[in-house]
Amino acid sequence: MDSIVILFISGLLGLFVGMQKKPLFSIIIASLGLIGAGVAAYFKGSYVSPFASYAAFIPTQSLVIILLCAVTLLALLGGYKRYKSDDEHTGDYFALILFSVCGAIIMAQPNDLMLFFIGLEILSIPIYVLVGIEKGSSRSAEAAVKYFFTGSFASAILLFGIGLLYGVTGSFQIIEIQSNLAIGIWQSPMAIVGSLFLLAGFTFKIGAVPFHFWGPDVYDGASNSVLMYMSTVVKIAGIYAIVNVFGQVFRDSYAFWIDLICIIIVLSMFYGYITAWKQTSFRRLIAYSSIANAGLMLFALADIHNSNIFLFVTAYAVATIAMVVVNFAVNDSTDSLANWEGIAWRNPVVGVALVLALFSLAGIPPFAGFFGKFSLLWSAAPHVPYTAILALIASVIGAFVYLRLMISALKKPKVTMPIHLSFEQVLVLVLTSLTTLGALYFI
């Protein structure tokens, strides 16, 4: 709860500071807010928060808050160059992002479906605005409108599902819903339809098949800096929400739902990776890669009791941010993968960070991505062995998507002009590389 308050206040403060039109002040305020929120989450256990009575609604685990704050900080720093160029509104953008993180934190670990829905909306609405950040670009506007309409539609379905579950069980409290469903009424049509709607809303938010269609268009229209935020934080919050809500609600109807979830996993992975194979636009590639990774994340549902997705989402988030930062440095206005040829040679930091990120996404040990995938499959494989086999086959296709990108990046460059990185971009790339390597610690 303290974290949310800190984030909210620093967001408000950022709005006032933003009026000075000094981007540097805004980024400092926003960074301090995020760091402060992370620190507050870390020390949560050691003192009694003044908000303790409210915090009872949100049993947030500090690890998730720290992860969300850290990833947001990386995304903010990585995209700072873009925000800075529009100094009229830098403060506004940062405030929107900070508000949105508040929503992500509320949403990630709910024990009340109403609260969860509020968190989801707090997370989503600023992103609708941020996607349209390129005011001059019609694609950006199109993406924003598309995202807004599909997103609100998904929210409505989700709300409908929550309503149906309330109708069956008479409660918004997840524990109560679970205990009421447990006595057998989960088989009633109303409960099943409600749960199905809930699942549909969730799959939309994390962008898994069959509700993935908004992803490529929205990612394509969003600017690099917003892409960094929305392709990571939204997914992390979404997957934690799924695990926490479904982990409770579906605990007794596990056998009934797991087949459907397995189908979603397999379809997402194959669709995402196969489609990513032939992309020529970087942002669309990231979009399809994120669809496939959303499928992988759903493995956490296969073994609800001891799922461990922390490592995987961390690896995915830092690798994605590193790639988008690199793309940001290469492709100022265009978004073509053709410009990626030989970039590893044009700046050593870019080269190292990119190779690490791609190997990590491809799931090759000893990088973070491997350990993430391993810990997911480790708990899931005994429960859903065939899905695990199919997922591994899909991962091979995925590895090729990333290796193809790496081959292109390692080619002898046609343009030898060094890539210029600003200070904060170097910082972000170094931090992501260290995190990717840091997984060695888990061996």
Binding site: P365, F374, L377, A381, I393, A399, R404, I407, I443
Partner: protein
């Protein structure tokens, strides 16, 4: 500890070495690793284990006599690779030196790790440097051929990952000793699938017959040093995994189930590889198929899982490393001096380069497994073991001796003694002579006294229960 970590340290340092002394640095670094391991082996009691624990959860090391053999082999191979490529531009590249040393680290990890997950991690770690070496220094026109190699390897590796997870779940154990002690008989058919995952990974690496299609093209397009690394040591990971991990652990239902399928594939590989090799016009492709033929024999014999055969298989593994370094070096020398590897365009080299002709002849004989070379001991006993298991397989396996003579002599005779086509041929450099001499001495020594190796590794090979 230095045994394993030394190459990693060298690899990191290599990025900061001035480019004009890179090749000397690579040679010294690999020599240092070789010296350290040789000294260590002198102080090592073969019947014991050398435990190395860095306090990591999933990776621990334990070196037994088989592990030490493989460490020595690895370090020797890397030293010879650096030495034999001393006059080539590739060793002058920081990237190559650093990546090769990183790969050496990965291989040492594979051969010494004590946990099944560690085995997988190091197995995959070796993939990364070889990918970059092939990509940067190979002559792949299109990434397709390279990607094909990786498609196969990754598919195999991921099957192995699934098996590793399954095995750890099934037994709730992760160390080698605990897995050996674990009783897999209750698993029934599951253990067959688990072993199948490992075997798929190994079959791609070795390679066994239907999975070999990546081999010829990768070997041909790779730089000489890359081919040497692939064939002399990287493929041995799979045979090592079969010998040390899979066969002892899955001893019982699963091994019985897979024995004859794998032996059949191995024997098909022996005959098929040899027949295809005879028809080849490109030296490197010829040697690649020869390698397929030789390794099929080792894999088939290993599947018998017989204590004596396993010892001999180690001799044959070492012998194959010797042969493949030597032959691919010869092919590399011809290609470097003349710019071609086509048998039709070579002839009469012996007249202008007698020293090369001599050493190539020695290596050819080693490869032909004439008596008093390690290959003779290896092939003779492996074929004998296959005969006693099944006369037909033994017979088919023994065709390798005849067919091997055909393609090896063809590869030697035409370029060396054929009508003079190549009037100029720069004779061997001292570093190349040194490599050939070391290889020949090693092969003859092992041929005369194989018991020094078989007795050494016998300590760590488990006696099968049946």
């Amino acid at each position: 500890m230095a045994l394993i970590l030394l190459p990693l340290v060298f690899s990191l340092v290599a990025w900061f070495i001035p480019s004009n002394i890179t090749r000397i640095y690579g040679l010294i670094a690999s020599a240092a690793a070789l010296v350290v391991s040789s000294v260590a082996v002198c102080y090592f009691e073969p019947s014991e284990h050398l435990l190395i624990d860095f306090g990591l959860r999933f990776v621990r090391f334990s070196i037994d006599s088989l592990g030490f053999t493989m460490i020595l082999l690895t370090n020797a191979v890397f030293f010879l690779v650096f030495l034999s490529n001393f006059k080539r531009s590739i060793t002058n590249e920081k990237r190559f030196t650093a990546l090769a040393l990183l790969m050496q680290f990965g291989l040492l990890g594979v051969f010494t790790t004590n946990t099944i997950l560690g085995f997988y991690i190091f197995w995959e770690l070796t993939l990364l440097p070889i990918f970059l070496i092939l990509y940067w220094f190979g002559s792949f026109d299109k990434p397709r051929a390279l990607l094909q190699f990786f498609l196969y390897t990754l598919l195999g590796s991921l099957a192995m990952l699934l098996s590793v997870i399954g095995l750890m779940h099934a037994t709730n154990q992760q160390t080698y000793e605990a897995l050996l002690a674990a009783d897999l008989s209750s698993l029934g058919n599951t253990s067959i699938f688990l072993m199948g995952g490992f075997l798929l990974a190994f079959a791609v690496k070795i390679p066994l017959f239907p999975f070999h299609t990546w081999q010829a093209e990768t070997y041909t397009k790779a730089p000489t040093a890359g081919t040497m690394l692939l064939s002399a040591i990287m493929l041995k990971m799979a045979l090592f995994g079969l010998l040390k991990w899979v066969l002892p652990i899955f001893d019982g239902v699963a091994t019985d189930f897979w024995r004859w399928p794998i032996i059949t594939l191995g024997i098909i590989g022996v005959v098929y590889g040899a027949v295809v090799a005879i028809r080849q016009q490109d030296l490197k492709t010829l040697f690649a198929y020869a390698s397929l033929s030789h390794l099929g024999l080792i894999a088939a014999a290993l599947m018998l899982n017989n204590f004596d055969t396993n010892q001999i298989a180690v001799v044959q593994i070492v012998n194959h490393s010797i042969v493949s370094i030597g032959l691919f070096l010869a092919a590399g020398i011809i290609e470097q001096r003349l710019g071609t590897r086509e048998l039709g365009q070579l002839g009469g080299i012996a007249k202008v380069a007698p020293r090369f002709a001599f050493w190539f002849a020695v290596l050819t004989f080693v490869s032909l497994s004439v008596p008093f070379t390690a290959g003779f001991i290896g092939e003779f006993f492996l074929i004998k073991a296959l005969f006693s298991a099944n006369a037909l397989t033994g017979f088919l396996a023994s065709t390798t001796l005849v067919l091997g003579a055909v393609y090896m002599l063809k590869a030697y005779q035409a370029p060396m003694f054929g009508p003079t086509i190549n009037a100029t041929f720069e004779d061997l450099h001292w570093s190349e002579i040194a490599v050939f001499a070391i290889l020949s001495i090693a092969a003859i020594y092992l041929g005369l006294a194989p018991q020094c190796l078989t007795d050494f590794v016998a300590h760590s090979l488990t006696q099968p229960t049946h």
